[in-house]
């Protein structure tokens, strides 16, 4: 049986993202500016500004598959014995790991800054915040992978952004019109376009919310499975002009 992940593809996506100047600059800004806010306020704002899991997923995931389709990479890549499933899963894993690593290190540095300024900090809360941001980054990356498998270029990020915006509007309309079913539909759509994970919501209630955990896992598996189906259906032309 073929391995679901191809280490060469994982490292190649990491190398590719690290050699894109615009992406590196934006990631550096997204990583350092919130930390500057924490430092300037001497930790007074807490870890709240360090919520970049979704942002890093967008920055690193934009065009994760669609960009390669537009660049004509598939013709060369799939001439080799690489399964499309392992291609999709490896691209997803590379970006998800990078986004998660960025957000975890950001929260870690933020917590250290707060400690240095003697600002009140509960390390268990910081750990939960890290976990929330990392799992959110992994979830959002999977949604970007799905849309990237069907849209060219960086259309994936626009689709996810406008999908999240549209679902928020549906949710708002449901609340405004006092239609619980519409608000619920909007909420579920919103969770699909932005699969955020919250430890507090999942495990610190009067009872664990397994729905929250399963929703997050379901969005990831569904997006990856659909992305693989979309890639399998894609016809690649080897004809020259």
């Amino acid at each position: 049986m073929n391995a679901p992940f191809n280490p060469t593809l994982v490292t190649s996506v990491l190398r590719q993202r690290a050699t894109s100047p615009a992406r590196v600059i934006l990631c550096l800004a997204g990583w350092s500016l919130p930390l500057a806010v924490v430092a300037l306020t001497k930790g007074g704002v807490g870890l709240q500004p360090l919520a970049m899991g979704t942002g890093f997923a967008y920055l690193l995931g934009a065009g994760i598959i669609g960009g390669e389709a537009s660049a004509g990479v598939f013709q060369l890549l799939f001439a080799r014995p690489v399964t499309r499933a392992s291609y999709v899963l490896s691209r997803w894993l590379g970006v998800a790991l990078a986004a998660a690593a960025l957000t975890v290190t950001q929260v870690l540095v933020g917590a250290l800054i707060m400690t240095a300024f003697h600002a009140p900090l509960d390390w268990s809360d910081a750990a939960k915040h890290m976990l929330d941001q990392a799992l959110t980054a992994i979830g959002v990356t999977s949604v970007i992978v799905l849309f990237s498998s069907v849209l060219p270029g960086v259309g994936d990020v626009f689709a996810v952004f406008f999908g999240a915006l549209g679902s928020s509007l549906v949710m708002g309309a449901g609340q405004l019109l006092q239609k619980p079913w519409l608000a619920r539909a909007g909420t579920e759509l919103n969770h699909f376009f932005g699969p955020e994970f919250s430890w507090r919501t999942a495990f610190e209630g009067s009872a664990p919310s397994w729905f929250h955990v399963v929703s997050w896992l379901s969005t990831i598996t569904l997006c990856l499975a659909l992305a693989i189906v979309a890639m399998n259906r894609r016809e690649i032309s080897y004809a020259s002009d």
Binding site: A51, T201, A225
Partner: protein
Amino acid sequence: MPATEHGSTRALPLALVIAAAVLLVVRVVLGVWEERHPADRADAVNWRLPDAGESEAKQKSSLLLYFFSSPSEPQCRAITNDVFADERIAHTIEQQYVPVKVVDLRKDAGRNFEGVDALEQRFGVRTFPTLVAFDPRSGHFERLEGYRNATATTRWLATAPAQTMGGLPRRMIGGLIGAGDSSAVDSVIRLEDEPAPPAPRKQ
């Protein structure tokens, strides 16, 4: 079509497909189950009555945080479970605001207690939950309609005090706003499970 030594390059990973299908079914089942059997958490915020909250805010020169809620709205339950039940967030709210809960009973009881409609009109409340950060000294306020998630709400709670300084003058929304000072909020609103407050003061 090129093939790997173990088969087609377009093979679907069955384990992933089965996991996706099973998780989707479990998600729907759990969603319906949790909707019908909500596990409510205890609200950690010490909500005040409007008149008591207004007086306290004046004494402390503090901002007011109004939580406009309706018992029949699932999103009101969600915001309480996700945000207001959290001890840390409750502590932060108590530090930054004087929290006031306003319960709308129109949908459940057909009518509201005296003063609720006036408050809703004053702050342009059209949906539940709605949060309003209000500066009684300047009359400026910021409003957050509906509930999206805990992150968005806590972010709004953290930034609203600064934004309230440049918010909408209260006379711009609602007919009562220009009628007097902030003590016009002294109205009788009975919160859930709380004894009736004293009669309203006349202006």
